[in-house]
Symmetry: C2
């Protein structure tokens, strides 16, 4: 029950930006705040830009800002964009053919966990985050 580092980074970045969504953020400022390596963050920002979450503005005084409203960005959308959600929707034992109609022995046990994950990640947007309760960023 662990996202890839890349998904973690993407969520770190976008949740950080969502706290003040109108601002323009430079790669430099994000790197300093979020403890992600410079080059890797830049590459990820390009991905997030191409996926339509953010604008990237090149040149001096450039940076990144939201293209979509935070309320229109679900956590699952972010994960899906950078690593794909397919893995998270699959069988816990790794069987391709597993489904509710053709379940593996773990299916009934696992589905409770999987549904909770999918439910939280599809029903939570960047605008739903309670920034006040957090002691970080």
């Amino acid at each position: 029950m662990k996202l890839t580092n890349t998904s973690e980074y993407a969520l770190r970045i976008l949740t950080y930006m969502a706290k003040d969504p109108a601002q323009l953020y430079s790669a430099k400022s994000l790197v300093e705040k979020l403890n992600i390596s410079d080059k890797y963050l830049r590459r990820l920002m390009t991905t997030l830009s191409k996926q339509g979450f953010i604008y990237s503005i090149q040149g001096r005084e450039g940076g990144y800002s939201f293209r979509k409203e935070p309320s229109e960005i679900r956590l699952a959308d972010v994960v899906d964009a950078v690593e794909g959600m397919d893995t998270y929707a699959g069988c816990v034992l790794g069987f391709e053919e597993c489904s509710c109609e053709n379940p593996c022995v773990m299916h009934a046990t696992w589905i409770k966990v999987r549904e909770e994950f999918l439910s939280v990640f599809t029903n939570t947007t960047l605008a739903d985050i309670d920034f006040e309760q957090a002691k970080r960023y």
Copy 2:
């Protein structure tokens, strides 16, 4: 929300064996049934043996059988033995210092998912599996 392949394999093997827990299983029979490569399965069986879940009986007519009762093997124990549960207990954004006292912005959202996972995997043993409902194995 995906286990490693190795964890998947370990659970495939042990849940399969748990359906008829008194039996002695050869590596060959497990490979044929469970679609795991021969060498990798053997290595994994040695790990599961060293971790105390199963006996391994060498020589002709050898094989593997349960050392612990299936009712004493929790799913979390299996995952912990082959890949460690630490990753699954951590912060969704990857912050080392994240906790309920010092939460990240995603903490409240993520904890619901994490607790469901930990609860299911620590409260389910190999004996709790409903083999009748499964259409596989």
